[in-house]
Symmetry: C2
Subunit: 330 residues, 2 copies
């Protein structure tokens, strides 16, 4: 089951390797007649260029890595948005004629493997997803001199990113609750090592502070379970609260469950607003009000930024806008 090589095709077509190569790569300086005979030979033999050999000389791989830096619990990769991001990235690369290799970096060991892989020249660029603020990976990768784009704000200086307006989104949510006449508005945060979580918390705090109200904060980690637990905590600490802003939808779903178990009506007793507007948000009871994260758009933007970077383009960060989707829970 040996695949034919350039040389075999050349022999069959009765031309030189060079000509075949030119035809394959779509160069225009080749006579139509030669082009045709080469194409025929290619089809007859089912020739497909060997990737390794091509990479070796061109130093391009047409492959981009998506590196997901994530603790073993899988905070990020468990997120429903993960699929959406992967899909959007995949499609975008598809149209650009690039390939996608996905690497999860869960441990130091796998982080090293990622770096080795990058250093091994297997990819032309890296899209980093959802890292902790202090993650050493972005800086390490950027040091390799390879184009890197982060899917979040990051502490590494020279790494361009595409981020949500997290603080703005949180402000949207809180102002909405205030307009609904809510007085005691609590929040459930994400893991504060993540920029997104911190920014959403900041947006919540700043908005409340502007109106002279007090913050009521419980810590979560972006999982349903943590949302449920944080909600229990909040009810215990502050039984009079009348609204909750959860820093993502999964935690909001957990909170809804706790509220239901505690006999609180939503939204009559307690209003709930989430963040991300994942599909499940429309299917909770009651349906969840949420700040929409345009994840697919963000992914597309990130890919474009990265592709631009590879072609030597500019590196300006991009901030995505967001909007509030009001449903029954608030």
């Amino acid at each position: 089951m040996k695949r034919p090589t350039l040389e075999v095709v050349a022999a069959r077509a009765g031309v030189s390797k060079s000509s075949v190569s030119r035809v394959i790569n779509g160069e225009t300086t080749v006579a139509p007649q030669i082009r045709d005979v080469v194409m025929r030979a290619v089809h007859e033999l089912g020739y497909v260029p060997n990737g390794a050999a091509r990479n070796l000389v061109t130093r391009r791989t047409d492959t981009l890595a998506v590196v997901v830096s994530d603790p073993p619990q899988g905070v990020v990769s468990d997120d429903p948005l993960f699929s959406a991001v992967v899909r959007a990235v995949s499609r975008e690369l598809e149209t650009a004629g690039k390939r996608l290799v996905l690497m999860l970096a869960e441990s130091d060991q796998s982080r090293t493997r990622v770096e080795q892989h990058i250093a091994g020249g297997h990819v032309d660029g890296v899209l980093l997803v959802a890292l902790h603020g202090a993650d050493p990976l972005p800086a390490a990768l950027a040091r390799q001199g390879l184009p890197v784009v982060s899917f979040n704000r990051t502490s590494a200086p020279n790494v361009p990113y595409v981020a949500l307006d997290n603080a703005g989104g949180a402000a949207l949510a809180v102002r909405h609750l205030l307009e609904r006449g809510r007085r005691r508005i609590a929040t459930i945060t994400g893991p504060l090592e993540l920029y997104e979580a911190r920014e959403r918390l900041d947006g919540y705090r700043d908005t409340l502070r502007d109106t002279g109200r007090r913050s009521i904060v419980a810590l979560g980690d972006f999982t349903r379970a943590s949302g449920a637990a944080a909600m229990r905590q909040l009810l215990e600490d502050d039984p009079d609260l009348d609204a909750v802003f959860a820093a993502n939808d999964l935690m909001a779903i957990g909170a809804l469950r706790t509220l239901h178990q505690a006999g609180r009506r939503v939204p009559e007793d307690v209003a709930v607003v989430g963040f991300d507007d994942i599909e499940a948000a429309s299917y909770t009871t009651p349906a969840l009000t949420s700040v929409r994260s345009p994840m697919a758009d963000q992914a597309t933007a990130a890919v474009h930024l990265l592709l631009g970077l590879i072609d030597g383009g500019p590196t300006s960060p991009v901030i995505m806008p967001n909007e509030l989707v009001v449903r029954e829970s608030s």
Copy 2:
């Protein structure tokens, strides 16, 4: 920013390229003293072997492709289990020292690209996920002479697979509903081009037939929206039904929503059982009874099967068992 090559390492260590290569590849026929001096040079220079060059001569890439054959709507890749599968596969390959390239085949065009990529020698094997029964891809890939494992049963003859006991799982669900005293048990199916969907329907039908009861079937496509729509249909067609078996949890969630809107109590009026036991199943109101699909285990098994295949192992299909997780909805 040029990376050092084998040759400069050899020069630095004062040995031949061959020796460096041997050290890098962990061959034992090299004197400890040489080994040390090479290792030192490697570390000092931060040498990492060039992948393309290595692939070119070894004809191995240490890379496996996960090909997701999926219509553009993203039936599969939208599924929460998709993340779980990707995570499990990624981890398993990590420990095996392999890399993962993810390819979504949504259109004929991208299908061709996938085939080209495979033919280009970029990967050592392929793991096919969630294809339609009539998908031409498995057969096409198998024809390339490359190890292929399917994540579902497939129509291609020579492609080994790892599958769930879908019919058995459906039977579990239906028998459970019968034991609860339900008489009119409906089902919402997945898209019947998928083997899984057909098998789950068969399991439902056969179990009911054994007890002499009538089947009540509505078609869905594994999405929440289709579950909600199918449930509306069912209520209209057969207002007296007292139980529903949905062929996956997403559709069950959609059905719950419709039942809630229609004022039916779950489980008092209508019992609901889903399939897959995704995490969201624990967080619905009421919590959803579901047939657990051991997706992570299935993914692990599939990877093992594929790795075994690459090393020339046997190709026996694997069937995963499943179990019923009873919660509040039934």
